[in-house]
Amino acid sequence: MEKFTKHTGVGVPLRQSNVDTDQIIPAVYLKRITRTGFEDALFSAWRKDPSFILNQEPYNAGSVLVAGPDFGTGSSREHAVWALKDYGFKAVLSSRFADIFRGNSGKQGLLAAQVAQDDIELIWKELENAPGTQVTVDLESKTVVCGNIVAPFDIDDYTRWRLLEGLDDIGLTLQHEADITAYEETRPAFKPKTLPARVS
């Protein structure tokens, strides 16, 4: 995973709550078996509407999405994160993220920064009044800067550290393989196994 320390890019105000993962990427795009190439799928239903924010310049070149509360609810599809990244987004700001989406973002180097709703409202106004305003998201200091607005954001310490270092989760866990093997030796015999298969 690439390291993430600080990013500056055009902010995109998405004045909407409950942006579920079916909106971020409709199910029809989940039939692909690749991990990249989802830029066309991002918000594909909404992008058919010419007034949608990503159809307007300069927002279409945005890389920091500023959304309403409960972003990324619904399906666990990591494709939602891949689509945001493939489009060019590096960070999403919201006052509340769905747990699975937030987890998926952390694994893929997309920064999900939790910002107080009052600050989100201020940033929205700034981005709407001055389209093309750049937003800086600094993971070291956990702050967002947009025009004159400076707002703190929350992210859990472990995800922050992994993003800053660009660390691969599986590699980290496999350092503890001896612990895993030791645990396996203590599992009760009655726990089920899928193999050999038994059927009705």
Binding site: I100, T194, S200
Partner: protein, 490 residues
């Protein structure tokens, strides 16, 4: 120290305690007892293993099935949609390469992954269960800690059989009282979500408790736990009890003999201690609950079926007001319209929420002897091939077909429309599934989430209806049996 059910299951699976607080503190590493796999969220994970030269650590704790993409008609023919066919074929190739047990289309154990696990007895109390699917919370009905994960985590579990998990908070959902006739588990969970909101459970594991929950069957408990994710929760759980054990006993992978006794002894410890505390308590009165239905485009936007479409101005919060306005526009509804006056085009009975044999029986009981509204199309999609066979053995398929419904093969189907079962733009559907998001069941489709009995009553009347709205069904015509004993009895 006194613990909740969720904390007990968590503690029993800690492979390595986290480092506590600090800048790079690692969270607890938990062992995963069962990994369920399907075609949509696994191909990139298998590919990741291959690229890194890693093995699948525990094929014997992994099981796969085909569900999201599979057609529900002509399952003996090659899948017409080429990308769907490729994705299914990729799962078959990956399972063969990595030694994973797979139940393919046409196999009696194929079906929706969250129907298949419990049906085979693989889901058991006190386990940790994960799947690259948010509705993995279903398995919490057994007192398992069951969570949906993304593809990166799927790969992590494949490689290590563990997950690093952030600690959660605990929320008790206390449902006391007795449900009235026609009110079901689906109405309980829709009411819970409307009460706490789609983000209300965020960061929590929910434990459903109280007399109304204890009185529910296992399949009804699965319906409730299934939609925990719709309240934003990590997981939902019900403590195991005699109902759980009776459901499990004799299932193919349930423990046997001495193992069964040892398991039950352990399972009996899996309840929240009397002096344990929850971070949050939420109460719901089962006695006054009515059938529940959604009017908007997220599962928290619901009301009792006897109420009307709300007015956006009723919402104090600006974001909720804007969301309601947008939802009404998308749904083509006007504030103040009684829910029961809303006409539907399609009724969908299926999905991991409501496609088990009890759901089919409950719907069949409503429609038996009644006629379908001729303008309504009804799709019945059993959750698994096994459920379909069971329903056919009971004659339920005849009841649905005589009514004019389409009797299909098993899969996720119209819940998310990855296969050809989709709504047309503007089409309105009463659906027993779990999500009423914009376009979820097909581009431009409009979804009202309902219980199986409301779905059935709606198919009869053509408008959103509860079973109590129906005229009594005509008495079944019984041919007189001409035997001496019959005449004596008369």
């Amino acid at each position: 120290m006194a613990k909740t059910l969720a904390e007990k299951v968590w503690d029993a699976h800690v492979v390595r305690k986290g480092d506590g607080d600090g800048a790079n503190a690692q969270p607890d590493l938990l062992y995963i007892d069962l990994h369920l796999v399907h075609e949509v969220t696994s191909p990139q994970a298998f590919e990741g293993l291959r690229l890194a030269g890693r093995k699948l650590r525990r094929p014997d704790l992994t099981i796969a099935t085909e569900d999201h993409n599979t057609p529900t008609l002509d399952i003996d023919k090659p899948i017409a949609d080429l990308t769907s066919r490729t994705q299914i074929q990729t799962l078959r190739n990956n399972c063969a390469e990595f030694g994973v047990r797979l139940h393919s289309l046409g196999d009696a154990e194929q079906g929706i992954v969250h129907v298949v696990g419990p049906q085979l007895g693989l889901t058991q109390p006190g386990m940790t269960v994960v799947c690259g699917d948010s509705h993995t919370s279903t398995h919490g009905a057994f007192g398992a800690l069951a969570m949906g994960i993304g593809t990166s985590e799927v790969e992590h579990v494949m490689a290590t059989q563990t997950l690093s998990l952030k600690p959660f908070k605990t929320m008790a959902i206390n449902v006391e009282g007795t449900l009235r006739p026609g009110v079901t588990a689906k109405d309980i969970i829709l009411a819970v979500i409307a009460k706490i909101g789609t983000g209300g459970g965020q960061g929590y594991v929910l434990e459903y408790r109280g007399s109304a929950i204890r009185a529910l069957s296992m399949e009804a408990r699965m319906t409730i736990c299934n939609m925990s994710i719709e309240a934003g929760a990590r997981a939902g759980m019900v403590a195991p009890d005699q109902t759980t054990y009776e459901y499990m006993k004799g299932r193919p992978h349930a423990p046997e003999g001495a193992d069964w006794d040892a398991a039950v002894e352990y399972w009996n410890t899996l309840r929240t201690d009397d002096d344990a505390t929850f971070d949050v308590q939420v109460d719901l009165d089962a006695n006054t609950l009515e059938p529940f239905v959604t009017w908007g485009t997220n599962p928290g936007q619901g009301v009792s079926l006897s109420e009307a479409v709300p007015n956006p101005s009723d919402f104090g919060d600006e974001n909720a007001k804007a969301a309601a306005e947008r939802a009404l526009q998308y749904m083509g509804l006007e504030a103040g319209t009684p829910m029961k006056e809303i006409r539907v085009d399609t009724v969908f009975l299926g999905s991991c929420t409501n496609s088990r044999i009890e759901d089919l029986r409950a719907a069949a009981d409503i429609i038996r002897g009644r006629e379908k509204d001729p303008k309504v199309r009804m799709l019945v999609v059993p959750g698994s091939a096994r459920v379909r066979l069971e329903a056919e053995a009971e004659g339920l398929d005849r009841v649905f077909k005589d009514f004019g419904a389409e009797w299909r093969f098993a899969g996720c189907s119209m819940c998310l429309g990855m296969n050809p079962d989709q709504l047309e733009p503007g089409e309105r559907c009463a659906s027993t599934s779990n999500r009423n998001f914009e376009g979820r069941q097909g581009k431009g489709g409009r979804t009202h989430l309902v219980s199986p009995v409301v779905a059935a009553a709606t198919a009869v009347r053509g408008t959103l209806s509860s079973p109590s709205d129906l005229e009594p069904a005509p008495e079944p015509v019984v041919e007189p049996v001409e035997t001496p004993s019959a005449s004596h009895a008369a």
